[in-house]
C-alpha cells in the first residue's frame, strides 16, 4: 500500500477498508485481520490502524466484539450509505478537476456517456475482477 503523505494516514486506511467492503472483497459479517496484520500490510504504525478502525466503529461500519476482533457490519443500509458516499466523493473529485479545466457540464455528461460505451465494448478484452488485498 502506498499512501500520500499529506493526508492523514488513518483517513486513507478508512477509505481503503471501506472500498474493500463496498467492492465485496470483505463480506458483511466477515472478521477483519488483526491490527498488527493490517499494520504490517500497510507498513504503518499499529496506533494509526487502531485509530482508523476506531473511527469506523464509531460510524458503525465495523463492529468490535470484545476479545474477538473487528467485524464488518451486516447492516446493508450502512454499507449502502458508504457506497453512496464513496460514489459522491469520486464524482466530486472528478467534477472539480474537469470544472477547473473550464469544461461545461453538458460536455462532461457527453464525454462520460461516450466513455461508458467505449468501456462496455472493451469489457470482453479486460479482466474485470478486482484484486482483493485484504
Amino acid at each position: 500500500m502506498k499512501f500520500t503523505d499529506d493526508v492523514p494516514i488513518y483517513r486513507q486506511i478508512e477509505q481503503y477498508i471501506a472500498g474493500e467492503i463496498i467492492s465485496g472483497c470483505i463480506q458483511p459479517g466477515q472478521q477483519l485481520p488483526s491490527v498488527r496484520q493490517l499494520a504490517l500490510q500497510f507498513s504503518v504504525n499499529t496506533n494509526t490502524v487502531q485509530r482508523a478502525l476506531r473511527e469506523m466503529i464509531i460510524e458503525n461500519i465495523l463492529e468490535s466484539r470484545r476479545g474477538r476482533g473487528n467485524f464488518v457490519t451486516t447492516d446493508q443500509d450502512i454499507i449502502e450509505k458508504q457506497r453512496q458516499k464513496l460514489i459522491y466523493q469520486s464524482l466530486v473529485a472528478m467534477y472539480s478537476q474537469l470544472h477547473a479545466l473550464n469544461i461545461s457540464d453538458a460536455k462532461i455528461k457527453e464525454c462520460l456517456d461516450d466513455f461508458l460505451i467505449k468501456r462496455r465494448s472493451e469489457n470482453g478484452k479486460h479482466d474485470r475482477t478486482k484484486k482483493c488485498l485484504l
Binding site: 503523505d5 499529506d6 488513518y10 499494520a39
Partner: protein, 244 residues
C-alpha cells in the same frame, strides 16, 4: 496518559561545545517518535543521554519516572553498533552475551526476529556480515529485549531499500503496544508511516514536537514540515546577518 520518557531542561556540553541546549521532551506510552535532524544536530547525544552513557548531561531525564542511571539502563534498549565485539566474534556468542547481561532479553523473541529478518546462520562472524546484515542483527538484539523504551540510532543509514522495508516491518511486528520507540534519521520518506510523532532537533535545540497525523491534517507531509522548519531557520540566520 503517563509519560514514558520525560526530559526537562537537558543540556550537554562536550569539548567546549554545546551539543544539547535545554531540551524538553515528553513521550507518552506506546508512541513511536521520529527524531529528525541533520548530522551533528545532536540526535545521537540525545539518545546517549537518555540511555545513560553520555556523562555530565544537566537537567532531569526520567524513564517511567526513574531518574537513576542503572534503573534507566534496565528500561532502555539502545542500538549499539557492536564495536565492542571483535570482528571474529560469532553471532551466537553475541546473542549469548546479550541473554546473560540483559535480564529482559528473550531468546524466543530474538529467534523470531532473526528468522524474520533472515541474516543467516548464527555461526557467522561479525566481520563477515554486510552492513545491511549487521543492522538486521543489531535490530534483532535491540528488539529482543522486553524494554520500555527502544532507541534506534539511524537504523537505516546506508541500508538498501529492500532491507529497509524488512526492518520497518520488523519494527511494526515486534514493538509491544506499551513500549516507546525513538527512531533517529535525517530523511524520513520510508519511515513516515511508522511514526506517531516527530521531534525535530536543530542546532542543539529541540525546535518542534508534533503528531504526524496532525501535520497531515494541515495538508502537509512530514517531509514538508521538517524541511520547512529547517529552511525557516536558515532565513532567520540570514536576517540576523543583515541586521548586523
Amino acid at each position: 496518559m503517563e509519560n514514558t520518557i520525560e526530559l526537562k531542561n537537558v543540556s550537554y556540553k562536550r569539548n567546549q561545545r554545546v551539543i544539547l541546549e535545554n531540551i524538553n521532551l515528553a513521550v507518552q506510552k506506546g508512541t513511536t517518535i521520529g527524531l529528525l535532524g541533520e548530522n551533528g544536530a545532536g540526535k545521537t547525544t540525545l539518545m546517549r543521554s537518555i540511555a545513560g552513557i553520555a556523562k555530565g548531561a544537566r537537567g532531569t531525564i526520567k524513564i517511567k519516572n526513574e531518574a537513576g542511571i542503572v534503573e534507566r539502563k534496565a528500561l532502555v534498549s539502545y542500538t549499539d553498533s557492536l564495536d565492542g565485539f571483535s570482528r571474529g566474534t560469532k553471532i551466537a556468542d553475541i546473542v549469548e552475551f546479550y541473554s546473560l547481561v540483559y535480564t529482559d532479553f528473550s531468546n524466543d523473541k530474538y529467534r523470531e526476529l532473526s528468522d524474520f529478518l533472515d541474516f543467516g546462520s548464527d555461526q557467522q562472524k561479525l566481520g563477515e556480515l554486510s552492513k545491511g546484515m549487521k543492522e538486521k542483527l543489531v535490530i534483532s538484539l535491540t528488539l529482543a529485549r522486553r524494554a520500555s523504551v527502544y532507541l534506534l540510532d539511524e537504523p537505516f543509514e546506508g541500508i538498501d531499500s529492500m532491507t529497509r522495508k524488512k526492518i520497518v516491518n520488523s519494527l511494526i511486528q515486534w514493538k509491544s503496544s506499551e513500549a516507546v520507540m525513538v527512531i533517529s534519521d535525517h530523511y524520513i520518506t520510508e519511515i513516515a508511516g511508522l511514526l506517531d510523532e516527530v521531534a525535530i532537533i536543530k542546532d542543539d535545540k529541540l525546535i518542534a514536537q508534533e503528531k504526524a497525523e496532525k501535520i497531515r491534517e494541515q495538508g502537509k507531509s512530514i517531509e514538508d514540515f521538517y524541511e520547512g522548519l529547517y529552511e525557516k531557520g536558515v532565513q532567520t540566520d540570514d536576517e540576523l546577518s543583515k541586521n548586523e
